[in-house]
Homo-oligomer: 477 residues x 2
């Protein structure tokens, strides 16, 4: 087991230094490599395969609710971006500008899209004419660039991959419904596919997206008690429609403005996967999203019949995503690698097992091992993968509950954040000034005004005035 220790020893313990643990996992599990430009990462096969599975599952959920995929240009003319002042103020400080093309300077600067509200608005302005053209429920999978100062792989990078949905509707109500519907798609996807439970709610005006009337969010809690905004859905009302002149002829023949929404989820959720489920041996991936679900490790593989049996087990498990590790590394090294990569199940098969018609199955999430008759392998693996998916969600739920606190006074609020890291539920007066003061004092932000409101006090934990809403507060990534 010397090999195994050596490999595992290379990861910093998460209790010792969570930030370093995260970086170690991202690199050692082979998810990314750094490029020459700060904040631009290479997503390696192991990382990209996770993204492909995320795309597959999320895209299927989109299509089930009538979303159609499109592709819009990567560049935005400065004049187009300028049309929506609020949005520009939001993104202007962090865009990359293209100033020459084909050895000639451009007459107008183009920015690399940081998000595509302006482009979709410009497109819809030309494409929508009549109420018959509505709604349009479009989405694109692409990369975007935001010139962040501080960068961390997946969590905050200058270039990242995402999907951005942009829809136009005939009525305000329909746009509002779509905003909520897509938030629910995100919440279901996170819970059911990524085993990540979330708090659903509305962002305060201070935290909402530039240009939106309302921003809704799904907030997840990482292992270290910090929050990660994992997906957002924006209701724009007719704001963009008015700025970009997106009008349609209604059934009664009058000219009306459309109502718009947008919603996005990014490669950031890979960061959430790591920080919600990972442990000191590396990644722990939920079976639904794991690129490889089962690794078969032959023991004493040079002995006659062992490798053949390993391939036979692979055939038996052909309904799953299975690999045989037939490299010349030691079994201990292979175990450590399977753990580092977060592969949900490991099947061990050696000469003695073959004699007895059995193999050993080890769970990545709990470390539990069990003997299994080869004749029952496929059925057992299927049941175990389902069980792991469920257990991972349950454990994450328990962690979320255990790290969600309540504070009914400013003293309790202060003490809780001094002693704990997690979500703190506390009342708020609705005043932006209090949010700013809380941020300055405790370094925490309002994560959301949850849909499920509770009364955990009667006065604002900042100013003591009568409270309007219960808010989830926390330190965020």
């Amino acid at each position: 087991m010397a090999d195994q220790k050596k490999l595992v020893a290379e990861i910093t313990s998460m209790d010792e230094d969570f930030t370093q643990w995260y970086t170690d996992v991202v690199i050692k599990a082979g998810l990314i490599a750094y490029s020459q430009i700060k904040g631009f990462m290479v997503i390696k096969p192991e990382g990209y395969a996770i993204w492909e599975n995320i795309q597959k599952h999320l895209d299927a959920r989109f299509k089930a609710v009538g979303v159609e995929n499109v592709y819009l240009p990567m560049l935005i003319p400065e004049s187009l971006l300028n049309k929506e002042k609020e949005l520009v103020n939001g993104f202007a400080p962090e865009v990359a500008w293209v100033t020459s093309g084909g050895s000639e300077p451009l007459t107008e600067r183009y920015c690399v899209r940081p998000t595509s509200e302006t482009l979709f608005s410009d497109f819809y302005q030309q494409d929508v004419h009549s109420w018959r053209d509505l709604p349009k429920v479009y989405n694109q999978w692409c990369s975007v660039v935001r010139w962040e100062k501080e960068t961390r792989p997946f969590l905050r990078s200058r270039e990242f991959l995402w999907q951005e949905g942009h829809t136009v509707h005939a009525t305000r109500e329909e746009a509002q419904e779509r905003t909520q519907q897509m938030l629910n798609v995100y919440a279901d996807f996170l819970a059911e596919d990524l085993a990540i439970p979330v708090v659903k709610g509305r962002k305060t005006d201070k935290e909402k997206f530039a240009g939106a009337e309302a921003t809704y969010t799904v907030e997840a809690l990482m292992h270290d008690g910090r929050a990660l905004q994992s997906g957002t859905s924006h209701d724009f009302g007719d704001k963009f429609a008015r700025a970009y002149g997106i009008q349609f002829t209604g059934k009664d023949n009058t000219l009306e403005y459309v109502y718009q929404t947008s919603w996005g989820m990014t490669t950031r959720v890979i960061g959430a996967l790591i920080m919600v489920h990972g442990d000191n041996s590396g990644l722990v991936l939920p079976p639904r999203i794991a690129p490889t679900q089962v690794t078969i490790v032959p023991i004493q593989q040079r002995k006659e019949g062992v490798l053949e049996k390993a391939y036979e087990l692979k055939d038996i498990l052909s309904n799953f995503r299975v690999k045989v590790d037939d490299t010349d590394k030691s079994p201990g090294f292979k175990f450590a690698e399977q753990e580092m990569h977060g592969i949900p199940l490991r099947v061990e098969i050696g000469p003695r097992d073959i004699e007895n018609g059995v193999c050993i199955i080890a769970r990545r999430d709990t470390g539990e091992k069990q003997e299994c008759a080869v004749t029952e392998l496929a059925q057992t693996v299927g049941a175990l993968l389902e069980q792991i998916q469920k257990d991972m969600l349950e454990r994450a739920k328990k962690h979320l509950e255990a790290h969600t606190y309540t504070a009914s006074s400013s003293e309790e609020f202060e003490r809780t954040f001094a002693e704990k890291t997690g979500f703190v539920k506390a009342m708020w007066c609705g005043d932006k000034a209090c949010e700013e003061q809380i941020k300055e004092k405790y370094g925490v932000t309002s994560r959301c005004i949850p849909f499920e409101q509770e009364t955990v006090g009667s006065t604002c934990v900042c100013c003591g005035k009568p409270a309007q809403k219960m808010v989830y507060w926390g330190k965020a990534y």
Copy 2:
């Protein structure tokens, strides 16, 4: 049928003006919209769904031959691009430069990737250490930017979507084999999924990719007799490895350079799909790639039971990609739309058909109609879709053969290009000067030196000197 005529009348006839016909189809079939920046297009749902199916089929073929997907940065530092002089000379005049990020000017310009050989080389230089790390067979699906002067949707755009594969190998032979293998993947994909037959061959030195030792190509022939390069595969030998210092420790413990390949296919093939199969009523899509395979058109849909029956037929056809056109448009208009969008089959169902337990099936490719018992519908549709896929390939093959000519003398060569448009097979001495002269004189280029060589003469059709190779010549897009 007035509606139908009206809609169809909006497309220019392909015999009258092929270029305008192409533009009309691209727009009227709803594949793209123009954006504010020349050469940057919006790919609309109808167009993007074709690309998604292309991705699905091609990616499955890649994975079957061991390709792994990754994602590399969108931007390339100028200093990195400069390392490979030949490549720079190839792309420098047509890149877009980012000069500021986050309101600050950059200390070094970054170009938006026109292709990613440099980035992959930089990555492999860090990632490859030992013979155990080889081969690496990576691919990415992304968008690239090339600042073309003349642009046309799909065929030549400043931004386009593609896949680019980049591999590193321990030996020259293995890289050569991979180059050929991927060319065959393209040829098979084009023939079997897109029903587009191709000529496979090697590019002359004049036409090869900047920096490559050899470029292989699959060349397709459009309906108007012009050629379209539909996919290329490059063998770089150890050229990039030497420029970027990509070395590995071999089994014998010596330091060696890797051998590299790259291969790409782009949204251009959508242009090929249109120009190989389309007709004066619009698109004609091969069933395997068609986003919708069957449109069901209810006749007299307001009569009781008609719409219900149409939905029932949809359920019967649930193994296929089926839509019911239940809009309030006239049947004639719906027929014309189904034809414009190239949907392979149309099923018509009206009150009299319901009485008789039948429906009408119309083929998009031939216009043939047949009556079909509802009880046999699923089976008949399945068989027809397979038949259409085969017939489309056969027709395209016949067109390719009928428009491939042979010229054994310079007189015959000149006469053929004066009278015909298509491929001309003719002998060549191997001299670049002759290629240049032929291009200047007749406006045609060498498309490839086909793998299947024939002797169609003994002397070069340009200079009359002894011939080295038989070459396919043609006017290209």
